[in-house]
């Protein structure tokens, strides 16, 4: 036991050197590889509308982003792109309860999720195979920071329900814009 204690600086040195030797990180092999799930995801994230008016569809999509509280960051109508984001609270009751229990039992402060930035990009595309149809694809992602200001999550949001709800709102928006409401 005593021997281990004496060796502690040495152990720290070895651990540090190991950590530093990893100065360069390598990217995961699947980062740029098409996954078998990509087709399924594309379908969940895409809807086709019977219109050739790409610009109107794009502005109807921008309106839905605004309905959902997003601010528009970028837009390029020539390519059918809109990018939006919003900053929101990320506190979850379960995590806070866990942190409180930890604090009472062990007297340690556990960081909990605090803030998040949600980003969305919408891309419209005239369908080559079917004239008069335009596809809309939206993708969401988010970064969550904890109460220590560290990134606790960074992820793509892939829940199908999210996309269903977005597109039901978009359908309404297209209808409202067509009738100038």
């Amino acid at each position: 036991m005593l021997k281990t204690f004496i060796n502690l600086p040495l152990i720290i040195a070895v651990v540090t050197s190991l950590a530093l030797s990893a100065c360069q990180e390598t990217i995961p092999k699947e980062a740029l590889q098409l996954s078998p799930k990509s087709l399924e995801q594309r379908q969940a994230q895409t809807r086709r509308f019977q219109t050739a008016a790409e610009a109107s569809l794009l502005s109807a999509s921008a309106a839905v982003l605004q309905d959902l509280g997003f601010n528009i960051d970028e837009g390029e109508s020539a390519l059918g792109v809109i990018v939006g984001s919003k900053d929101r609270d990320a506190t979850e009751a379960g995590q806070v309860a866990g942190a409180v229990v930890m604090a009472i039992l062990f007297g340690v402060a556990t960081p909990v999720d605090d803030k998040q930035k949600i980003r969305a990009s919408i891309v419209t595309r005239p369908q080559e195979d079917e004239n008069g149809w335009t596809a809309v694809r939206i993708t969401f992602q988010r970064v969550v920071w904890n109460t220590n200001g560290q990134v606790s999550r960074s992820e793509a949001l892939t829940e199908p329900e999210l996309y269903q709800e977005f597109f039901s709102k978009l359908s309404k928006s297209v209808f409202l814009e067509a009738h100038e409401i």
Partner: protein
């Protein structure tokens, strides 16, 4: 004695790391020519807009969210989040009379992506959506 040893180990480990972080501004691990050849492919098409749209569709297939796009400049950038952050910029410009050059560059967290494999994977995915072969450029 042990203290010296400790210092020595830490210093030896640090020797492999940078001394001035400003060196990063112009730093690359590969030569300009090598990097261009890894990151660039030629396609037999002149349709820049359609190519840019296909690039965006491919990025979306790979779970990227688009950050910016510019039809005139021919650039598209996107970010992928999956426990890590990967940013990618793709540019499209004409090559001669009948081809387009597509170039991609990426960063993974705070590191440049300079290995050939990730770019091969990206162009393999792009090729499938383009219905055209991605040709190596020397």
């Amino acid at each position: 004695m042990r203290r010296y040893l400790t210092c020595l180990i830490v210093l030896a480990a640090l020797a492999g790391c940078q001394t001035d972080s400003r060196d990063q501004v112009l730093a690359t691990s590969k030569s300009q020519i090598e990097l261009r050849s890894i990151q660039t492919r030629a396609f037999d098409t002149q349709d820049k807009e359609q190519t840019l749209r296909t690039v965006m569709a491919t990025l979306q297939d790979l779970n990227f969210v688009i950050d910016k796009a510019d039809a005139v400049l021919g650039t598209v950038s996107g970010t992928k989040l999956d426990g890590y952050q990967m940013r990618m910029t793709v540019t499209v410009r004409p090559r001669g009379e009948s081809q387009l050059l597509v170039r991609a560059n990426a960063q993974y967290n705070i590191y440049p992506v300079e290995d050939p494999e990730p770019y091969q994977q990206f162009f393999a995915a792009l090729e499938r959506s383009m219905f055209l072969t991605a040709q190596n450029v020397d």
